[in-house]
């Protein structure tokens, strides 16, 4: 008995010392590019926080401030001229939003930022009812989503006879409604940005795990999620992919301002930027570290092909859904589907990150 107990202890001691010794050994091998691997992931996540996500929120906040100024000018003297000036600021801000849509986790997720800023199509009936009665709430989850944010402003600023409506009997309520939306957008973004700058950033960078709810888990999941949004609500649904070919052109993003294609291009371009990490370390570098260079080339090529296909769609997208330009939409749709498959299947598999929002056992 004694002898066996000794041997038991010996195996236990050996195995733990092997683990210890190995971990102390040479870890600066060239397969990690001269860096300890945790340092690689930390540097990558720092890049995501400091050069992509936080600057994107900062930019959006600045663009919203510019939008507020332009909106106030327009509201003071509504005219087709001031409307045209406003449209520039509005489009700028909307495009800036497309660069934060990706970061729908952490503070942005908790604040349900995307729900308040960009659920489209806007529910125009409920918006008009709210303006007429002067009573509305922007804080009821789900129910409030489609009466605020960019889609609501898009409708209020740029729908037919928008200018005249700001000068008619109900103009005071309408102006207040616009100002309420803009100030809510500003305060939400201010709040999310300050949380990123204060508490969230450190935790985001420190979490080098890859499981569900980890920083890299969010990054891959959000790339796939936003592409799904592109394939569905942004293009597929209004184009009639889900409805047997019956198109719903008014349901597309930025319908009234007629710059849906620009928004889609901005969105996908920003996703590519989130994939590459811009000039710093990104998922592409991580794939290279894992020896997946041909997959990385495939993904980059599919990004470029999908972006080019989107750029080829003539504005307004809503018209292209139903006129002779619809093959361009089909083409972009197919290329996005290919890109989505590469991210959702190949990249997720190569990084062993699960595309799911659920925690469970699995074997």
């Amino acid at each position: 008995m004694k002898k066996r107990t000794w041997m038991f202890l010996l195996v236990a001691a050996c195995t733990s010392s092997i683990f210890y010794a190995c971990s102390k050994g040479d870890n600066g091998g060239n397969d990690t590019g001269g860096n300890a691997p945790d340092a690689f992931k930390t540097a990558m996540l720092t890049n995501y926080a400091d050069t992509l996500i936080i600057p994107a929120y900062t930019d959006l906040l600045a663009k919203l401030q510019a939008l507020e100024t332009a909106a106030n000018t327009f509201l003071t003297s509504p005219s087709t001229n001031s409307q045209a000036t406003l449209k520039v600021s509005f489009k700028d801000a909307y495009i800036s939003y497309e660069k934060v849509a990706f970061a729908y986790f952490g503070p942005g997720g908790t604040a349900a930022l995307n729900n308040s800023l960009n659920v489209f199509p806007a529910n125009t009936k409920r918006i008009e009812a709210g303006i007429a009665s002067g009573t509305y709430s922007f804080t009821v989850p789900v129910a409030s989503d489609s009466i605020q944010g960019f889609p609501a402003l898009d409708y209020l600023f740029f729908s037919t006879d928008a200018v005249t409506k700001f000068a008619d009997a109900g103009a005071a309520n309408r102006k207040k409604y616009v100002q309420d939306i803009v100030s809510r957008m500003k305060s939400l973004v201010t709040d999310v940005l300050s949380q990123w700058k204060t508490n969230y950033r450190a935790g985001f960078i420190a979490n080098t795990k890859l499981d569900v709810g980890s920083s890299m888990g969010y990054i891959i999941n959000q790339l796939a999620f936003e592409m799904d949004q592109m394939k569905g609500p942004r293009i597929g649904w209004p184009f009639g992919k889900m409805s047997g070919g019956t198109a719903y052109p008014t349901n597309c993003e930025g319908y009234y301002g007629s710059f849906s294609v620009s928004l889609a291009v901005a969105n996908l371009t920003s996703l590519k930027n989130y994939y590459t990490g811009g000039t710093g370390r990104g998922i592409d570098d991580y794939l290279l570290l894992l020896g997946k260079s041909s997959l990385n080339s495939t993904v980059l090529a599919r990004f470029d092909a999908a972006i080019a296909a989107l750029q080829a769609i003539p504005e307004p997208m809503s018209a292209s859904f139903t006129n002779s330009n619809s093959p361009y939409i089909d083409d972009a749709y197919t290329k996005i589907q290919l890109l989505l498959t590469a991210i959702k299947t190949d990249v997720a598999s190569a990084t062993s990150i699960r595309i799911t929002y659920q925690d469970s056992d699995g074997d």
Partner: protein, 445 residues
């Protein structure tokens, strides 16, 4: 039929410890399952389920019903541990637990299958004849000895799990390519101490080969009395490592760590029982006897049972396709953590008369986990297609046909088209037959 070796007089202690450990572990894992909200998440929220073999009678019972069912599982597990109305408890546990597993193959796990079949074995075994509330209620049933086979079946079952898990690893990807370890380990670089090693290729090979050799041979070292303590040290090392490296496998390591105790002889088990409470060995040295006709029937039943256990893992050989690719004959074969596979499937519903095509938003009908599982498992695709046919017919589409465009990546190879997108899946059946519409696996990918 009366083989001496099988009916030898053996101490009941290993069987009793196994009963207590199994019951207690099932009790706590049921509580854990509940506490994590998985009853609601997996058996209440989904609008559609994938019953095993398309057995439509295996339906979820609604929120109240499912929670009551899990209470039944927990209570019967506790009764097994305490040895309280043991026979009824094992039957109830086996039926209720197995019923839950049949509702949705999305949640299929090898260790759930293990729990089901072990609880079935426990129904037949006199594991409550010592150190139990049943004995306290009626001391006349107390036995210190049982026929050897009652412990042997548990050991054999454990052995089957290990050896088949080992055989499953004897494939090109696992041994020669160190896949999927090469993919999975870098995801663990956050671990303290060993983290930096996770990118090293040799570590992936070490894990692969160690895992295969361990699974193939551990049971033989556990059987041998001389090597048993060292072998158990390896059991601890192996399963604790898997629990650290792959927390996703949940309870499985603990089930095997505790289950492997059954290989120890009575002295160890008496010590465990003494830790748990007063367990006198004094008193009548009675042995539990099965009536000869009963024992013969049980032998026959167990013969069939173990024959099935030995055959099921090899049934894949009758299918022409690559096993990991098509998964025909994959389940119930102890293929645990064996491959990295993910997929993405787009479904289309077509109305033949009008030529209209409707793309399906899978997330309206499936949970993310269901969609993920369905995207790599062909029988689930067919079940889903049948469901879509119904849903779209109700929406007013005439004779809906269902087609799927799926891509699957296996062990890090580039994703490839998975099924024939010109086949109307709504017209296909779920069953044991070979699914001809799965595209062949391309080895050169």
């Amino acid at each position: 039929m009366e083989i001496k070796y099988l009916t030898d007089k053996k101490s009941i202690a290993p069987l009793v410890v196994f009963r207590i450990a199994f019951g207690a572990m099932m009790f706590f894992s049921t509580i854990r399952f509940w506490a994590r909200g998985w009853i609601t998440e997996l058996y209440v929220k989904p609008s559609f389920y994938f019953p095993l073999m398309d057995w439509q009678w295996a339906k979820p019972l609604g929120s109240t019903g499912m929670h009551l069912l899990f209470i039944l599982i927990a209570v019967s597990a506790l009764c097994i541990a305490l040895g309280f109305f043991y026979r009824i408890a094992t039957v109830l546990f086996f039926l209720s637990f197995t019923y839950v597993e049949l509702i949705d193959v999305t949640n299929y796990l090898n260790h759930y299958y293990f729990v089901s079949i072990v609880s079935f074995l426990l129904i037949l075994l006199p594991a409550n004849r010592y150190f139990s509330l049943d004995v306290r209620r009626n001391t006349s049933i107390r036995c210190l000895y049982v026929p050897a086979w009652t412990i042997g079946v548990i050991r054999l079952q454990m052995g089957i799990v290990y050896v088949f898990a080992g055989i499953a690893k004897l494939n090109y990807d696992w041994l020669i390519q160190a896949l999927p370890m090469k993919i999975w380990l870098p995801a663990k670089s956050h671990l303290p101490l060993v983290g930096p090693l996770m990118y090293k290729t040799w570590v992936a090979y070490l894990f692969s080969w160690f895992g295969a050799i361990y699974d193939l041979f551990i049971v033989f070292f556990l059987i041998n009395k001389k090597t048993r303590p060292i072998a158990y040290a390896f059991v601890l090392l192996f399963h604790i490592s898997t629990a650290i490296f792959f927390p996703g496998i949940g309870m499985f390591p603990y089930v095997m760590i505790v289950g492997s105790l059954v290989f120890f002889d009575e002295s160890v088990h008496y010590r465990i029982l003494r830790l748990l409470g007063n367990s006198t060995v004094e008193g009548e040295e009675k042995m539990y006897y099965f009536k000869p006709p009963v024992q013969r029937s049980i032998f026959l039943l167990l013969g069939i049972y173990f024959l099935l256990q030995l055959l099921l893992p090899f049934r894949y050989l009758v299918y022409p396709n690559h096993l990991f690719w098509s998964e025909e004959g994959y389940r119930f074969s102890w293929r645990v953590m064996l491959m990295e596979k993910s997929g993405n499937t787009f479904f289309y519903v077509k109305e033949p008369a009008s030529g209209k095509k409707y793309e399906v938003a899978n997330n309206t009908f499936l949970t993310p986990l269901q969609e993920k599982m369905m995207s790599t498992q062909p029988d689930m695709m067919v079940q889903y297609a049948h469901y879509l046919q119904q849903v779209y017919a109700q929406k007013g589409i005439n004779d809906p046909e269902v087609y799927a465009d799926g891509y699957v990546a296996l062990n890090g190879r580039p994703s490839a088209q998975y099924i024939d997108s010109t086949v109307n899946l709504a017209k296909q059946a779920v069953g044991w037959q070979h699914y001809t519409w799965i595209l062949p696996y391309k080895h050169n990918q």
